[in-house]
Symmetry: C2
Subunit: 588 residues, 2 copies
Amino acid sequence: MRKVRVWAPKSNSVNIDLGSGRVPMTAQPRGWWSGTLPDGAVDYTFVLDDGVPLPDPRSPHQPYGVHGGSRTVDHAAFPWTDSGWQPAPLDTAIVYELHIGTFTEEGTFEAAIEHIPHLLDLGITHVELMPVAEFPGDWGWGYDGVDLFAPQHAYGGPEGLKRLVNALHAAGLAAILDVVYNHLGPAGNYLGRFGPYFTDRVRTPWGDGVNFSEGGSDEVRGFFIENALMWLGDYHFDGLRLDAVHAITDSSAVHFLEELTSAVAGLENRLGRPLCMIAESDLNDPRLIRPRTRGGYGLSALWSDDFHHALHTVLTGERTGYYSDFGYVSHLAKAIENGYVYTGEYSAFRDRRHGRPLEYGEKSRLLGYIQNHDQIGNRANGERIGQLTGFAHARIGAAMTLLGPFIPLIFQGEEWGAGTPFQYFTNHSDPDLGRAVSNGRRQEFASFGWSPEQVPDPQDPETFRRSKLNWRELNEEPHREMLSWYSRLIRFRREHPELASAAAKVRFDEAQQWLAMERPGIEVICNFGRSPVRVPYGRHRGTVRFSTADGAGADGAVPPAAVLVFENPGSSEGSPRAGELESVPVKK
Amino acid sequence: MRKVRVWAPKSNSVNIDLGSGRVPMTAQPRGWWSGTLPDGAVDYTFVLDDGVPLPDPRSPHQPYGVHGGSRTVDHAAFPWTDSGWQPAPLDTAIVYELHIGTFTEEGTFEAAIEHIPHLLDLGITHVELMPVAEFPGDWGWGYDGVDLFAPQHAYGGPEGLKRLVNALHAAGLAAILDVVYNHLGPAGNYLGRFGPYFTDRVRTPWGDGVNFSEGGSDEVRGFFIENALMWLGDYHFDGLRLDAVHAITDSSAVHFLEELTSAVAGLENRLGRPLCMIAESDLNDPRLIRPRTRGGYGLSALWSDDFHHALHTVLTGERTGYYSDFGYVSHLAKAIENGYVYTGEYSAFRDRRHGRPLEYGEKSRLLGYIQNHDQIGNRANGERIGQLTGFAHARIGAAMTLLGPFIPLIFQGEEWGAGTPFQYFTNHSDPDLGRAVSNGRRQEFASFGWSPEQVPDPQDPETFRRSKLNWRELNEEPHREMLSWYSRLIRFRREHPELASAAAKVRFDEAQQWLAMERPGIEVICNFGRSPVRVPYGRHRGTVRFSTADGAGADGAVPPAAVLVFENPGSSEGSPRAGELESVPVKK
């Protein structure tokens, strides 16, 4: 027999339903109920006062989907082979974001294992999985998960996920999991029947926010913290990526994120291996990564959209939506030197001042990317950068990201300039919800001038299938060449640990559209424009190490849409160091 | 001619209406409009696209009330006589909270001046005015103000307020103003027609919250900051008391309160006199008073309800509402030693953990009180402590507050145990709103079991009149005796500057209901109970300096409902100092 507990503070009774009959649970203090389940893998539900069987809020496995019963899992039974495992330090990481459902034809944890050699060849150190918590249907992005303790059954459930993490560790790769603690999905979300998990006093773009600071919030906070500790402990993940923490509203004196990182630090001590907590936030607020002892929340690192937006707009010329705040080479220069572009300046898109400067050393805690699931998939047609700009500009973006001052992150298939899109897809079984999602997507893009037929239907299974990687491209040009570019840049970064420093100095010319980024031991010179430019020699011009334009660069001439990487004589001698960063003003 | 500006970002035109005709204003960048007004005191309104004349959002004077036109004020014209003025330091302050409308029969700034000698005799150093910004009607508490730059016309307007502050300074008294930046009142609130001052994404108990971090919020924040600087600069106030800052919701990287205290610090430097920023907050969050350089908001001090609630419940035995979290002598002991009672513990009233410990030295930044406008006026009948407990217990409360480790604050009339209540009163001219307020008040107390006729009608003029102080009581017993008690305690505190230290050690006995508070040079021994107790001698028992029970104390015996203040031999020799505070565990 094993113990099982559930928090149901408003219920007068809670029963366990094992199919064969219902067994009452015993009331415990503070709204908790306890009971026992038979050993082995057992299907069960909880029944509250209204007699309706519901999945366990902490269900470890939902073999029948979000509306079905829960199944017990014996975490101790898995034959882990990763004892003594230590991940590469986060500041030297090359992160690879992947989506289980589209990474392979099969769309499973098991199938993903087959491609680990590819990731190793590429030079990846950390694999970040898009959310895997049980979400409605058999495919989806995963941000509408509702059984937060259960790995998606269609991906292969708990056993499959453990096999994947174990295989990653066996290959020397760290594993990071994307978790969503700011809201739950619209279908199969039964949490609210158990207790005050949500509050209408906090509104998110996706509905009622999570109750992090009102009555009953101790247990709600505990629910999410326990979830984090489970992924890190029972599934051996090396870190979490917290989705959209700006949508976590908490007025209490100890912010949820501070309590969370504090609990994870405790687990880290017990496990004896480093754990990282990475957050997505659009607040440009250094408090998130500041130590708890200095009034911060103690997160390890942050995704940095400012660098992405600055680089993306310079590469593509796009200016709609939030890209309207970017577009000048000077924006990119500021991102490279200061981390954030908006550090208190007026943002036209937000119609208010935005952000705050990072302090010394904090820039190295940002992740940089030119592609990720959002920046691709939130486009109407989910195009990748190469499809927007051509491969020449995509290669510039790669060099800036992979040799830049941030922890690089790339999105599955980016390394070969995948021809497949990453579109928005869902698999809701409720026809009303499905229609609402389809129409919502069309309406979202109608405001940007897209007609309905131009926007792929998220509910169309073809939208999902179309987004799967086509691994056959790997053997075809121009993909082979792009893969070679990525591999060489990644290998170079890993062979030059001084590039893990965030030190960077920038020269640029707005009119001529060139930018030169001096980094320890190297200088990366980009011509974003359509005309050849002559870039004045920097302090330490050496030999061309990488180039997208054969024979270019020797005389300072850079062809259009090209990038040259100079390796300085004497390696990092005289190159910028972290201490020099703040002293360099950005040209306007 | 003088310049006038207004922010109206959505308007296509703005006109100034001078009664004699309309003059168009000139559009400026970012939604501002500028125009000119004749010299001298001129009545004017602004007219937006819909043609309706509205008061100036920054109206300096509303001689006809919240729905009338605005009148110009020449701040430079007032004959100030307080050059070189320096207030007493906040940590040595004795604060007196007063409400202009009920402090005197006349209910005006001018009439309040007549009682300055009383405040001086009492030993007050700082006078805190309840809100004076123009609110609907001729009387009210003032927390529903809507013309935040205009002193209430019924109190005497700008000229009257300046005369009062000037007279306070002439008498050596500092002036603090209560300001409300978390919401505006329901009547006469035209701000929303001018711009996005409010947002339905933030909900307060009083309606839509102020837009501190969404689109347009730069100007909204600027509006409130300019308001603060005006009271401190143009009206010579020495500080502000910020109402209910927990209802200020701001997700931006620089919190409004941090921006506000930063701006006030700049003004302080320019003026060359200290300014204080005191906040009311129910968050028990030390971040509010932590320096900005350490991730805090840089406020000077906070009202501390925990001390009040702990003392109030021990004195009265009340346990309803938020008092349910208090009631033990141990709560009071923890408040005295640690500042907050709830420093992360579970609060039954809030049904969640609450608060966070203060760090060393922060306890001295709390204000302590046994009465204030809220704790009296938020009762159905607005009774003062003496009416609830009798004067014996009220005198214990006074000794604990005036000799305790917090900056003492008393509420008008408390010093003589005023027989007049302080009830909730309003004067809304809109009959629907008036009825809604009356019914709302009845419903609020119905949930505590009060029948409608037991709850005074806020709209009844008699409720207001009943709440006015009766200064004739000063010459009557038992009020004379109470006034003597307050005067002696206050004088003692001021004569012993070591009592400005927050150092305090407590011994107590929960069953016997006594508590001994050791402070620099003194020990205050209270018997809250109905039986005589024998309190073991403390380390430094000296002679009885104050007592509510003649001849008691010499043998350690304390009669019921009595307080004795022992003065240690050798004054503060061997008494607790600030550094000892944290080392003393609270008995449970």
